[in-house]
């Protein structure tokens, strides 16, 4: 991870020259943005990115998940906007700026994201939440889904019979995270971004989530697990 100081910028320039093939996630803010951080994560294994402010995290996630690389208007003469500088984003060995919309969408399908609160729909129970994206993107996989979900939940020391019929309003923060996590594992993403994995959990639950990266790497060999831990913005 690099910060916006001169040393870090030269480091970034060096990385630009490096082949991006072995990079799971690379984020380089616009050169004039001294307050933002750059991120360069190699493919494979489990990684933790700490110290991100809420704004930085939001910018990064908007760029990665929603395909909205930050656009910065540059208007040196009386505010006239003449050109734009954009953040550089590398996902799974490909520079997003060099891809067309269809290729970006295909690339996005290989990336999973677990928000801090699990990202569940409140009118669906845990089972329906887990199979929702699967039913949309891979309906043929649904017939084996029940066995896989039971297997994953058991591996993560949860009781499928108790959890699956629950609506999110009756779940603890840990159960919400767990449900969201299993939902992502069912799609087998090559890159998994997890926001604030331990946030809002008690000590025992924090110990349980330490098993999440191992479960992901067992389910998706060769995948990259990235934990984005933030600090509250002052």
């Amino acid at each position: 991870m690099s910060r916006g100081d001169p040393a870090a910028q030269s480091d970034t320039a060096l990385r630009r020259a490096v082949d991006v093939k072995g990079v799971a996630l690379g984020y380089e803010p616009p050169a004039d943005d001294r307050g933002d951080v750059g991120i360069w994560i190699p493919a494979g294994g489990s990684h933790c990115v700490g110290g991100l402010s809420a704004t930085q995290k939001a910018k990064l996630l908007a760029a990665v998940i929603e395909h909205r690389p930050e656009r910065r208007a540059v208007g040196p003469q009386g505010g006239a906007m003449r050109s734009e500088k954009r953040a550089k984003l590398v996902l799974l060995g490909a520079e997003l700026d060099k891809l067309g919309p269809a290729e970006r969408a295909a690339l996005r399908a290989r990336v999973g994201f677990l928000p801090a609160h699990g990202g569940l729909l409140s009118n669906l129970n845990a089972w329906e939440n887990i199979v929702l994206p699967l039913g949309f993107h891979y309906p043929k996989r649904l017939k084996d889904a029940a066995a896989q979900v039971h297997g994953l939940l058991t591996e993560l020391r949860a009781d499928p019979q108790a959890l699956l019929p629950k609506l999110p309003e009756r779940m603890s923060p840990y159960e919400k995270k767990l449900t969201g996590y299993v939902r992502i594992l069912m799609e087998k993403p090559e890159l998994l971004l997890v926001e604030d994995l331990r946030g809002g959990l008690d000590r025992a639950e924090r110990a349980q989530v330490t098993e999440f990266p191992a479960a992901y790497l067992a389910s998706c060999p060769g995948g990259t697990f990235v934990q984005l831990d933030g600090t509250p913005e002052v």
């Binding site: 996005r108 009118n123 329906e128 994206p133 949309f136």
Partner: protein, 258 residues
């Protein structure tokens, strides 16, 4: 005025998206939402519709017989022209707005405000495919079914009351009814009620997905906008449709010159 035009344009675009993406109804999660919507709007509202339909039919006939001292022919004409063609689809549409329109607008606005719509996008699920398409199709089909219930019950109830209060048998009333009826009326009712359903659902989904603000206060505002606009549009469509098909609007007060 520009705001109204933009909202209309956005609703038309949403309706276009629904037409283009009807194939998503084959996906299991979308089919599940469609089934729930049909059950909520079409099936569980039936009991209320039966009571209201029977009440409206008997009320109109009782009033007409009392005030106009109608004979069987006039009673049947009133039942047919007023009740079957105009009142029944309107009653069904108003009930759908009251019951399902408010529910849809509120539910979607809450999902938008609480970030659940954003969660869907993060799952690469287009919220219009998952939330709008099944609701529009479900509400349109349910409105057509409810219109049919109201027509059958209101006309049946009206005929039964007429038979009891004026000197005419049910057989006589029914034969006069079937002399007036034509396949055009059936097609007219089905198309009009489907159109009402689509209009209600699209407007309610649009306002649900675009609440006026990000706070919880925006939810009731979205519901109010949805109900007001869908009621107005249904009334307008009813007038336009009647004029286009039968050359008459406002129950015959305005007629086309041939």
């Amino acid at each position: 005025m520009i705001g109204v035009y933009r909202e209309f344009e956005a609703c038309m675009r949403l309706a276009g998206h629904v037409l283009r993406r009807l194939r998503v109804l084959a996906l299991p999660p979308v089919a599940e939402v469609l089934t729930r919507q049909i059950y909520f709007t079409g099936a569980s509202a039936t009991a209320g519709i039966v009571l209201r339909g029977a009440f409206i039919g008997t009320f109109i006939i009782a009033y007409v017989i009392d005030v106009l001292e109608a004979d069987s022919a006039l009673a049947v004409k009133i039942l047919f022209w007023v009740l079957l063609r105009h009142i029944a689809p309107l009653v069904a549409a108003v009930l759908v707005i009251q019951r399902s329109g408010t529910a849809v607008a509120t539910e979607l606005a809450l999902m938008q405000v609480s970030g659940e719509v954003a969660s869907l996008r993060r799952m690469r699920v287009d919220p219009r495919d998952y939330l709008v398409v099944p609701r529009v199709v479900g509400i349109a089909l349910s409105t057509a079914a409810l219109t049919f219930y109201v027509q059958v019950i209101a006309v049946g109830g009206g005929m039964l009351l007429s038979a009891l209060t004026i000197n005419a048998s049910i057989g006589e009333l029914s034969s006069e009814f079937f002399l007036l009826a034509s396949p055009v009326d059936f097609v007219y009712s089905v198309i009009k009620s489907l159109l009402f359903g689509v209009a209600i659902a699209v407007i309610c989904c649009y306002h649900g997905l675009h609440p006026p603000g990000g706070s919880i206060n925006a939810v009731p505002k979205a519901a109010i906008n949805a109900v007001t606009q869908s009621t107005l549009l249904v009334m307008l469509l009813n007038v336009v449709f009647a004029y286009l098909v039968f050359g008459q609007a406002f129950f015959g007060l305005v007629s086309a010159k041939v």
